[in-house]
């Protein structure tokens, strides 16, 4: 299934959000997630399934002004 991860076309082998994050080697406790520009809270992750074409934003803290 092809989805978009942080702006890049990406082939993933699962539709489960947690599995995707793990397969892409994100550290789950250090990122936050939006799907199609909607926030997906951490407590929703266990049951959250991604669909083909979905746009994932996986963000981490950085410096800011």
């Amino acid at each position: 299934m092809r989805i978009v991860v942080n702006g890049d076309q990406t082939e993933v082998g699962s539709e489960e959000l947690i599995a995707i994050l793990q397969s892409l080697e994100f550290e789950c406790d250090k990122v936050v997630v939006a799907v199609n520009q909607q926030f997906v809270a951490r407590e929703q992750w266990p049951n959250y399934c991604v669909r083909s074409g979905d746009e994932l934003d996986i963000l981490s803290p950085i410096e800011g002004g």
Partner: protein, 270 residues
């Protein structure tokens, strides 16, 4: 002098908020924050590739300092994006505070008064403590205040310009018309004199990033800004002299020597 103040229920001593971007190194950033005495620092969220763990070291550094974090929504162009980013920030930074930025123009990077108000309304409904970054427009600020913002952050000048306060008259008006709102000047401060002037006008605090981070010596500049903010605050409280158009001697006039006019007869001798 202790002069604590309250920001959304949190008591602070320092009136200088510091940004964490654009420093030569994380170590210098840390030292600048410590030297500035800032109790609140700003952060952001960005897309991260898992391999390039670039941001991690700086975030670890920031979080280790123990300051309160004020995440921003820098880069958002719509209320919708800003609200989503704010929600993500709340989860990862574990704070209700959000510095709300919704950019309305790519050139001067100024806030969009329309999207800003829309996002503010939604975020307050979602339980956030909103710090809206806004122009100095009084009516926009009044609207933000009416929506429930206890804190409003008018700009001094466009971000990164270091031009200081381009419209001090408007800031004075804001202070007069919103006497019970916490006002922080955000963006545009380039020199300590700019920060001091903002505080002299009765502004409650300032947020500075570029002027500290891009100085040749950010650590010294951090201390300079801290001193300036204290100076301006103290002056505001101390009741400054009124400006005058005409000169007045400070040294007493009475008894000035060498007065060559006709000597007076002493009263006692007449």
């Amino acid at each position: 002098m202790s002069d604590p103040w309250n920001v959304y229920g949190t008591t602070l001593e320092s009136r200088l908020f510091l940004g964490t971007a654009r420093y030569p190194s994380p170590a210098i950033m840390e030292e600048a924050i410590l030297r500035s005495g800032a109790e609140v620092v700003t952060t952001s969220l960005r897309r991260q590739s898992p391999e390039a763990q670039g941001g991690k070291s700086i975030w670890n550094r920031i979080s280790s300092i123990g300051c309160r974090v004020l995440p921003n929504t820098a880069g958002c162009r719509s209320a919708k994006d800003a609200v989503t980013l704010a929600q993500m920030s709340r989860e990862i930074f574990e704070t209700n505070w959000i510095k709300l930025e919704v950019t309305g123009d790519e050139y001067n990077l100024q806030p969009d008064p329309y999207e800003l108000v829309t996002a503010t309304e939604q975020l307050i409904h979602l339980g956030f403590d909103v710090f809206p970054y806004t122009t100095e427009d009084l009516v926009v600020c009044q609207r933000l205040h009416e929506l429930g913002c206890d804190v409003i952050m008018p700009w001094g000048a466009p971000i990164g310009t270091g031009k200081g306060l381009t419209n001090p008259y408007a800031l004075e008006t804001l202070r007069d018309r919103l006497p019970n709102t916490t006002l922080l000047v955000d963006a545009g401060i380039g020199l300590p004199s700019h920060a001091a002037k903002a505080m002299e006008l009765g502004i409650d605090g300032v947020l500075i990033n570029t002027a500290v981070a891009t100085a040749d010596d950010p650590v010294s500049m951090a201390l300079a800004m801290s001193n300036a903010v204290q100076a301006g605050r103290l002056a505001y409280l101390a009741g400054p002299m009124a400006q005058s158009e005409t000169a007045q001697a400070s040294t007493p006039i009475v008894g000035t020597p060498f007065w060559h006019s006709q000597p007076r007869e002493k009263a006692s001798e007449s």
